[in-house]
C-alpha cells in the first residue's frame, strides 16, 4: 500500500474557483514531486521540492498554481483559478533523492480534479 497520502481523492470545482490538494510524503523523504496525469494518461511534471525549497517548476505552475511544502505540515498544490483544462489526476510522489540517482519515486493515489 502507498505510504504517500493524498487528500482529497476527488475534488469538484467550478471554473474560476480555487482548488487545493494536499500530500503527505513518505516519512523521511525530503524530495516531493507533483505531476498532472491527463485523460490520455500522460504525465506532466509540475513542480518539485527538496524539503521546503522549490527545485524546479514549469511556467504554468509558476503563473497559475500556488505550491508549498512547509516543515511538519502536508505539502499542498492549489490552482488559483480553475479552468476546464485543469481536469486531471494530480499525483504526488516522494523520494529519498532527486538529482541523478536511481532512487525510486513513491506515488500517492492522486487527487482527481473535475472542473465543471
Amino acid at each position: 500500500n502507498s505510504k504517500v497520502i493524498q487528500t482529497p481523492r476527488y475534488l469538484v470545482k467550478g471554473q474560476g474557483q480555487k482548488a487545493k490538494m494536499r500530500c503527505i510524503p513518505e516519512k523521511g523523504h525530503p524530495v516531493v514531486f507533483w505531476y498532472q496525469q491527463n485523460k490520455n494518461n500522460e504525465f506532466k511534471f509540475l513542480i518539485n521540492f527538496q524539503n521546503q525549497e522549490v527545485l524546479q517548476q514549469i511556467d504554468m505552475t509558476e503563473k497559475r498554481f500556488s505550491a508549498e511544502c512547509p516543515s511538519n505540515s502536508p505539502c499542498s498544490l492549489e490552482i488559483q483559478s480553475s479552468e476546464a483544462g485543469d481536469s486531471a489526476l494530480y499525483l504526488c510522489a516522494s523520494s529519498l533523492k532527486g538529482q541523478l540517482s536511481n532512487e525510486r519515486l513513491f506515488f500517492g493515489h492522486g487527487t482527481k480534479l473535475s472542473v465543471l
Binding site: 494518461n41 500522460e42 504525465f43 511534471f45 499525483l91 538529482q99 541523478l100 536511481n102 493515489h109 492522486g110
Partner: protein, 111 residues
Amino acid sequence: GDSVTQTEGLVTLTEGLPVMLNCTYQSTYSPFLFWYVQHLNEAPKLLLKSFTDNKRPEHQGFHATLHKSSSSFHLQKSSAQLSDSALYYCASNYGNEKITFGAGTKLTIKP
C-alpha cells in the same frame, strides 16, 4: 532537450505470448532509467530500474536491459499473464532535478 519515447500507445496480446514494450531516451548524459506500472485505479509503482554496474534488473518476470549504444531500455517478459494488464511508463532521471516520463503504454492481455 532530454526526453523519453515510448512508441506504442496501446499493446494487446494473448496470454502466454512474450511482451516487449519499447523505450528510448535522448540525452547528452547517461541517465538512470525506470519502468513504472499503474494498474487500474491504483498508484503508479516502480517495476524495475537500471543500475550503474550494468546488472540486468528483473522483477515479477519482467526484465529490461540498458543499451547505451542504442539509448534504449525496453521492457520484456517471456510469457504474459492476465494480471499484467496495466499502464506502463518508462522514466528517466537526467540529473536536472525533474524525472521525465514517457507517454505510457497501455498493455491489455486477453485470455
